[in-house]
């Protein structure tokens, strides 16, 4: 087990290098000229300005040279400077990633808890009204477009009823707590600032609900199907024959046996949402990785595009590893080697 994890970790730098190379090469096949993102349209005819810009951003160098410089810098933690924000990409990512993490983690928490509960309940009360409503709720969550659901709920709760704040991570006028984890909720607690904590939590609720709903839909359908299968197995009968109560039969005996496929979906959804929460982040003006990636792509901001790709890739790798390890814990029949 330990040697397996070690081997996976050793392989990781090579995989990351592969991702870096691929991300770097992909930007060179893009048609657009990054200069148009740097130099204003009027100045494009001025050869001096263009030459200066090229030299400033290293665009006058050959591709292998640029690649070598990039990789060397990356090793020092430097991901280049964004064309758009004019800040180091690494700095942007350090600000954006925790925002997305905070959103996605709470969405995953809501989605997993709601999804598993719904799936188990639906399976146990199969073909009853409870089952049908749970399945409708799940289907709704996984088939309604996020942007529609987000906008509709935002309109109702924020504009019409005014019970939830509209957008952003926290009230724009608030003085932010010192950054420790980058999660505003946790940083506020660490700073003992309860007011900011509540405000941040209040801002977090709606976007994580919207995002969590889609996850809950997927998870509950999976858990329901697996629970139906497991509840028909003989060891369930054994548990009942032992004198175990229904709750114990369902949770300890059945649910634990559905954990493996569920973990896969949770791991996958997590990795996917970290870079794929674009629509939700846009609707709720959430300053996360998704909206950063969209801005970068639109502005041909190559350093930012490569940076986001690398970070996304690394997150995927780590999530996969975590999922594989969780497998072993959940299923004793899996032996890693």
């Amino acid at each position: 087990m330990l040697s397996y994890i070690l081997r996976r970790l050793i392989a990781m730098p090579f995989l990351i290098l592969g991702i870096v190379t691929l991300a770097f090469l992909l930007t060179t096949v893009v048609k657009g000229d990054p200069l148009s993102a740097i130099v204003s349209e009027r100045q494009m005819n001025n050869p001096e300005v263009v030459a200066a810009a090229k030299a400033r951003w290293g665009l006058d160098k050959s591709l292998p040279e640029r690649y070598a410089i990039y990789v060397t810098n990356l090793l020092k933690g430097d991901m280049g400077t964004s064309f758009i924000t004019r800040r180091p990409v690494a700095q942007d990512v350090m600000y954006r990633l925790p925002a997305t993490m905070e959103l996605v983690l709470s969405a995953m928490l809501i989605g997993s808890v709601v999804g598993i509960t719904l799936g188990v309940t639906a399976a146990y009360f199969r073909d009853t009204a409870i089952d049908h409503s749970a399945r409708f709720f799940a289907l709704f969550g996984s088939s309604i477009p996020v942007f529609w659901l987000g906008l509709a709920l935002l309109y109702l709760t924020s504009v019409k009823w005014g019970i939830l704040p509209g957008s952003g991570r926290v009230d724009a006028r608030a003085a932010l707590p010192p950054v420790v984890t980058g999660f505003i909720t946790i940083d506020a607690l660490l700073a003992g600032n309860f007011k900011i904590f509540v405000d941040a939590l209040w801002h977090l609720i709606l976007p994580s609900l919207v995002l969590g709903w889609t996850v809950a839909g997927t998870i509950s359908r999976l858990v329901r199907a697996n629970m139906l299968e497991v509840m028909g197995r003989e060891f369930i009968l054994t548990a009942r024959a032992k004198g175990a109560g229904e709750l114990r039969v369902v949770i300890r005996h059945a649910l634990r046996n559905t954990l493996v496929p569920t973990l896969t979906v949770i791991g996958y959804s997590f990795a996917y949402l970290l870079t794929g929460a674009v629509l939700t982040e846009t609707i709720f003006s959430w300053p996360g990785m998704g909206s950063y990636a969209v801005d970068a792509a639109r502005g041909l901001d190559f350093p930012a595009i490569i940076g986001v790709t690398i970070v996304g890739g690394v997150i995927f790798l780590l999530t996969n590893l975590a999922t594989d390890i969780a497998y072993v814990v959940a299923n004793p029949r899996v032996r890693l080697g």
Partner: protein, 332 residues
């Protein structure tokens, strides 16, 4: 323990019926089974798969599936179980009445250690016991069913056990709380032939040592010859013959039982082919008129196709056949 204990059967089933279906469209799989087990007695229930023998015994202790409808009477030490709330049945199951199943691999939870499953069985009925004490008891139980290195085995998962060892674990779990009645549903069917005899030995030894009432459900009459005190033969959801084991083998009073006995492989005789009863048992809800066995019966007459047979009694030997020996006791 009152003095009447000895006279009273440990477990008495009267006219047990189990039907499956929904929306008022039910089919009976168990059509009025009656049998009884005395304390410390081994009752064998024999029948083909689908005859209702397992379904009936599961339903008797409240383990029927959700779409089943159960009626009749099941008394355990004089206490009626049918209609008892699940919370009450739960206190009996695993403590006074235990059960083991056919396939020991699928009967054990694959993601729980054997130790945890054993100690769970103990703790469920001994709420004030510590987890540690339960584990010690679990270790003793594994030793009781002759599993070597019980302390190490406790930490392992079912897939690390062989088939025979798994069934030993199931047996250990069943006797964890020193039950009065053990229902063993085809305990050796899924096992290798060489292991079958060992498991039967373990069961028989424990039955004797713990004075267990044992219901041994099997499709193999041969298994019962050496192990049962009495035998109930089940066909199409009914007990068609019931007798002491020697009496049954010596004087089978029902054509179906005679067929079963004839189809037991016999080492002494050299036969080209093993005898087998022609045809297949009727499907659920498609029982023939008259005697359920009549389409397969070599002795069937017109009356068998018209009238359900009455029960004939000869001492404590009963048989439901128009042509059975004995006095008519009951018309069903």
């Amino acid at each position: 323990m009152s003095g009447t204990m000895q006279d009273e059967p440990l477990f008495e089933v009267r006219d047990l019926r189990v039907a499956f279906g929904k929306h008022g469209n039910f089919h009976e799989a168990v059509r009025g089974i009656s049998l009884s087990v005395n304390p410390g007695e081994v009752l064998g229930i024999v029948g083909e798969s689908g005859s209702g023998k397992s379904v009936g015994m599961l339903a008797a202790i409240g383990l029927q599936s959700g779409n089943a409808r159960v009626s009749g009477s099941v008394r355990f030490r004089g206490r009626e179980l049918i209609g008892l709330p699940n919370s009450e049945l739960r206190k009996l199951r695993g403590s006074r009445i235990a059960m083991i199943f056919q396939d020991p691999l699928s009967s054990l939870n694959p993601v729980m250690t054997v130790g945890n499953q054993l100690s769970e069985a103990i703790l469920l009925h001994n709420k004030d016991l510590s987890k540690k004490a339960a584990m010690r008891r679990a270790e003793d139980l594994l030793a009781l069913v002759a599993i070597p290195q019980p302390d190490r085995r406790l930490q392992q998962y079912p897939h690390e056990f062989s088939g025979g060892m798994r069934q030993r674990v199931m047996i250990a779990m069943a006797v964890a709380n020193d039950p009065d009645l053990l229902i063993a549903d085809e305990p050796t069917t899924a096992l290798d032939v060489t292991v079958q005899a060992q498991i039967m030995e373990v069961l028989a030894e424990l039955q004797e040592r713990l004075k267990l009432g044992l219901i041994l459900i099997t499709h193999d009459l041969g298994v019962l010859a050496g192990h049962a005190d009495r035998v109930a033969v089940v066909y199409s959801g009914q007990v068609i013959e019931q007798a002491g084991v020697d009496d049954l083998f010596a004087r089978p009073n029902h054509p179906y039982t005679r067929g079963l006995i004839a189809s037991i492989p016999n080492m002494a005789e050299e036969k080209e082919r093993l005898f087998s009863i022609e045809g297949t048992p009727p499907a659920l809800g498609q029982f023939p008129r008259g005697c359920a066995f009549n389409p397969r019966c070599v002795e069937a007459q017109d009356i068998c196709r018209q009238l359900a047979p009455p029960i004939h009694r000869l001492g404590d030997h009963t048989a439901a056949c128009h042509f059975a020996a004995g006095t008519v006791e009951d018309t069903r």
